[in-house]
């Protein structure tokens, strides 16, 4: 509260100084979200209403100053806790060489193996820093220091209310335009709760250090990136230490009308046996402000956005190949394949209780055997524009995930495979009418030893756009699966969107939403099915 008051005094001071000079450039964005309906779990319906109004204000002042704040009214919230007041505020100075920001900030070092602070409101995930960031850029180097505090509140796991005091630096040398060599270092002191207040389980205090080194080579047709970090964690309350590390690399080659990228990940931040691996409150795992590349394709087709596999940053090795190829000016192909597994397998000893780690020498590459929880994905998409705004997109995707039951002596496993064909046709009839038709069909096969379950999911979306202002969307989803948390076989919803000018979008929808696991940036949350009315108004002034 005191910090907020001080922020406003300083902000008002600068605004008062300049208001008569007419040199203030304000910018406001506002998002209003309202929902009224039911969250569904089996036969149980729980009424849910939410109201959220989020106003982001930026005021550009002379002398390269920027003041910003976010007013948030989130009561009752859709996810997480209620909030009314100023949830963000900052003052920023940004000249050619110098950047100084005090208040709330996001920041990324290299590819995020040591530090990647970001917010995803849809998943109620927020690791923004409350503190100070100073950056200096010159022709041959970039330097940055930061210090502050991160409060992480998990909307799904209410126990996960972690706080971190954090300090760090980043230095990047660029002796030539094509090469950059960098180092970063993060020091943190954190408090990680192990249970809610009622449980009485004491929180764990940790200290962690994360150094990082990286190399970036960027030639006209070729680029190479290598990023390595190590995490050392001291769990003070347990008097134990843990070390882990992560490596990410990518190689790209560009040719006439094509581009190929090969990515590699080797994340070993906290390799543990199955008892430790499934303890999600453990203090030694990768910290929430680290967020390395997932080395898997992030899809835009609805059925493909429901992941079979959650990336395990603590113990996963994997590869990805991604290629774009233009057959001609109007036709593009995108091929993507990725493959990952854990590093080593754990064998249940004959006592039926303890595990032995079976090391393998080639644990720097993923392994297909079921004991290694392999996951692979193959995706091919073709896009053809038959005029400037009319296009056809057709894709095929095959995914397969193996879950191995390490607690069973008979080595049982469940293999889930999914084959998806999405098709999208977008046609511009005239400036005043466009139609977009999308259909996605998914065949799912779940195999548990000799038992096999087969079902399919089908999604149809039809969007009509009128006069570049009004859009009407009808959505229908159907499944033959016998098990769904919403206890339904089909979901129907309609949506109307209206664009007022170029800066305001009003959207209202009514119907059933299937929900499910949603992942973004490697952060995954389960979204419960919803049935009811939603309204959102987005304005950017």
């Amino acid at each position: 509260v005191i910090l907020n008051k001080i922020f406003f005094l300083i902000a008002m001071f600068f605004i008062n100084q300049n208001i008569f000079a007419q040199s203030i450039v304000p910018s406001v964005s506002n998002l209003l979200r309202y929902g009224d309906g039911d969250r569904i779990f089996g036969n149980i319906k729980v009424e849910q209403k939410y109201f959220e109004n989020l106003t982001d204000v930026r005021i550009s002042l002379p002398q390269s100053l920027l003041v910003g704040f976010r007013l948030l009214y989130d009561d009752p919230p859709e996810t997480g806790e209620s909030f009314r007041g100023i949830s963000r505020r900052f003052i920023e100075y940004n000249s050619d060489d110098l950047y100084l920001r005090a208040g709330n900030s996001s920041i990324l070092y290299s590819r995020g193996l040591a530090l990647n602070l970001f917010e995803n409101r849809g998943l109620a995930y927020d690791t923004w820093l409350d503190g100070v960031i100073l950056k200096y850029n010159s022709e041959f180097y970039k330097a940055s220091i930061l210090g502050g505090r991160i409060d992480l509140r998990d909307s799904v796991n209410v126990v996960r209310n972690e706080t971190y005091k954090i300090r760090g630096w980043n230095l990047e040398l660029a002796p030539f335009n094509e090469i950059a060599i960098g180092a970063a270092y993060i020091y943190t002191e954190g408090i990680i709760p192990q249970g809610d207040e009622v449980s009485g389980i004491p929180s764990k205090n940790i200290k962690a250090e994360i150094p990082e080194l990286y190399l970036d080579i960027n030639l006209s047709n070729f680029s190479f990136y290598l990023d390595w970090s190590r995490k050392w964690t001291n769990v003070i309350s347990d008097r134990m230490t843990s070390t882990g590390w992560g490596l990410y690399s990518s190689v790209s080659y560009l040719g006439e009308g094509f581009g190929v990228t090969f990515d590699y990940k080797n994340y070993s931040f906290d390799i543990l046996n199955p008892y430790g691996r499934y303890d999600f409150s453990r203090a030694t795992r990768m910290l929430p402000f680290q967020n390395p590349p997932i080395v898997q394709k992030e899809h835009s087709y609805t059925l493909l956005t429901r992941p079979l596999h959650e990336v395990n940053f603590n113990d996963e090795v994997g590869l990805q190949l991604d290629a774009f190829y233009s057959l001609n000016e109007n036709t593009t192909l995108n091929f993507n394949t990725s493959f990952s597994s854990i590093h080593s397998r754990y064998q249940l000893n004959e006592d039926g209780f303890t595990f032995s780690k079976i090391e393998r020498n080639d644990d720097f590459i993923p392994f297909f055997k079921k004991e290694f929880f392999p996951y692979y994905e193959i995706f091919l998409e073709g896009e053809h524009y038959y005029n400037l705004s009319s296009a056809v997109r057709l894709a095929i995707a095959l995914r397969e995930k193996t879950f191995f039951n390490e607690f069973s002596l008979n080595k049982s496993s469940t293999v889930t495979s999914s084959f998806i064909i999405p098709l999208q046709i977008q046609h511009l009839f005239s400036e005043n009418y466009t139609i977009t038709f999308q259909t996605e069909h998914e065949w799912v096969n779940e195999k548990f030893e000799i038992d096999e379950k087969k079902f399919f999911n089908h999604l149809i979306t039809l969007t009509n756009s009128f006069f570049l202002r009004l859009t009407a969307t009808l959505r229908f989803e159907y499944t033959t699966s016998e098990i769904d948390v919403s206890d339904r076989k089909n979901w129907v919803s309609g949506e109307l969107g209206y664009r007022l000018g170029q800066s305001h979008v009003i959207t209202a929808s009514y119907g059933q939403e299937r929900g499910g696991l949603i992942c973004s940036n490697g952060v995954c949350k389960y979204i419960q099915p919803f049935e009811g009315f939603r309204l959102s108004i987005l304005s950017q002034i």
Binding site: S29, L108, D216, N291, T332, S389, Q502, Q540
Partner: protein, 169 residues
Amino acid sequence: MEVVMLKSIWPKKVFIFLIAQSFLAAQDKADFSIQTTDNKEIKLSELYNKGPVLVNFWALWCEPCKAEMKVLKNLYEKYQEKGFTILGINEDSPKSVSKVRAYVSSQKINFPVALDPNSQYLQKFNGQSIPYSLLVDRNGEIVYKSVGYLPGDEIKLEKEIQKLLSATQ
């Protein structure tokens, strides 16, 4: 009253701000530098000094963005000789940064594309969602904003570009 409050709470810091403010040169135009996919540092003012600039925030995972990119490429090719340019700012997270160059190359996009893997520049312009486009005139002022993309939007955008180009000439 305000002065009294400031004195009592933060006299030293306010004083430092006052001194700093009096020494700093005034810069009224919005400007920023950003790194492009080919590792070059590009400054917005260097672009708008030559003519109108469309700053377009996009991402590989955003289908409307890619559809819009197609029409922007056409607009760029049509008006670049008259001084118009586009600065694409990619909003993919770090995991996709290496793929952005491959996509840009395959699409034969000739205007500069910069990287913003932490959404720092999108936040600077208060962007809530993408695609988000800002048309900047030769004075560095934002004269047109557009949120989202519907096929046909380019017709209005083209009129705005023509208006700016005719005003310049």
